[in-house]
Amino acid sequence: MAKAIKIDERDNVATVTSDVGVGEVVEVLSPEGEVLMMPEMKEKVGFGHKIALKDLERGEEVVKYGEVIGVASRSIGAGAWVHTHNVESARVPTSAHGGEGA
């Protein structure tokens, strides 16, 4: 079964560890390997991308690593893909400049 990791207990998103398709059930694991929940995917999400673990209102903080990584720019349903189309940085708008890598 497809899996996702919720890194910190305060997080409201989890990161999927493989590509997952619509209708697939994802096991959301804590870093200690406990199954926390098993949401059904509302849309296709690629490896390394995030899903919402609860309904997020527009303007609500998106939390990963127990810290705010951005703010929902529109409402996001539980199980939906969370990325640049529905989250903005609280500090600076995200856009690629094509220069520096990781």
Partner: protein, 412 residues
Amino acid sequence: MTEFYGFERPDGRVGVRNHLLVLTPMDCSIEPARKIAAQVEGAVAVTQHHGCGLDWMVANTLIGAGRNPNVAGVLLLGLGCETLTCEVLAEGIEPTGKPVETLVIQEEGGSVRATERGVRILREMAEEVSRLRREPFPLSELTLAVECGGSDATSGLAANPAVGVAADMLVDEGGTVIFGETQEMTGTQHVLARRAVDGEVAEAIRAMIARQELRMRAAGIDSRFMSKGNIDGGLTTIEEKSLGAIRKGGTRPIQGVLKAGRGGFDYPSGPGLWLQDGTGSDVPSVTGMVAAGAQVVAFTTGRGSTTGHAIAPVLKVTGNPGTYSRMEDNMDVNAGVILDGSGTLRSVGEGIFRDVVEVASGRMTKAEALGYHDFIVYRTSGLAERLLDVCPPEAIRGGKRRPSEAALEPGF
């Protein structure tokens, strides 16, 4: 109380290896240095490539490398006409009490004579060093550097948090941890500053990251923006990217910022977690932290980096199970087991902590067994630093993002 087995140096510090360092003040004398090192067991030759002027950023890094307790003895090999002289390096290294010898090629009558004398000096050092025995020491004598390179989506999810668990365990046992790569802290100033031991350290953290943003902006690069590869890989904001990167340092209070540039070179003044104001480029970053005293390096990688280091063993941790199976000859730890739930973050982190202690006690890492002796000295541009000192930040920021536009701004 965990112990490790190391070699006590005359200054009381503890080495985890017995390297003999052939250190050249600049690259003019590196080839004879390599020939000398090749002839003596345990010897390694290192240099820097920034010219022979007396640049203290470079000199301090070389001095730190010589001072690192993993180095049992030093042979300085100069050409004879450099401004950054062997004397400058010897003065910095000799207070450790370890053997430091100097040879100058022009004074010896050429490289052949210098090589002969150099081999003889090192051979004697090698015999002396072979008498040393490992003894047990508390982890308060151990400094771990943590680094990431060749990152992918698994780095922030598995490898960095797992190394962070090991870093926390070492700090909790009285050890020291250093992490750097200032540009990868962008967007997490508030998080790191909150973890500072006091307000002064919090301000130093904010100033360090702000100056790095400005330094990159002066070169036409906005460090707050991410690459297309980052975004395609699932990273949504700069905060998310940087939070994943800083996780490798663990979660303990930050004791201070270690300068490693033109404003001086700092060594940790006590145990705990420290930030080094250093480059994001892997080998120079590791070299900077080793120069600050790290005896062991934990290096996380997603795509698969193969680098080692001339002075400190480098333990490779990948969060990508595919990279582990494809590159098992180079990867020491598979943290990818966290991703499918077959391993927990805690168990992998505890395993890395045990690996660090074992490696400190003599077990070779894969990069070490393969003989990878990476060593690169980082230097910031003196001109750029001067510009940052004298120009108002607004003039540097400009507000334009594209390098081509920034380059055309009046005054640059």
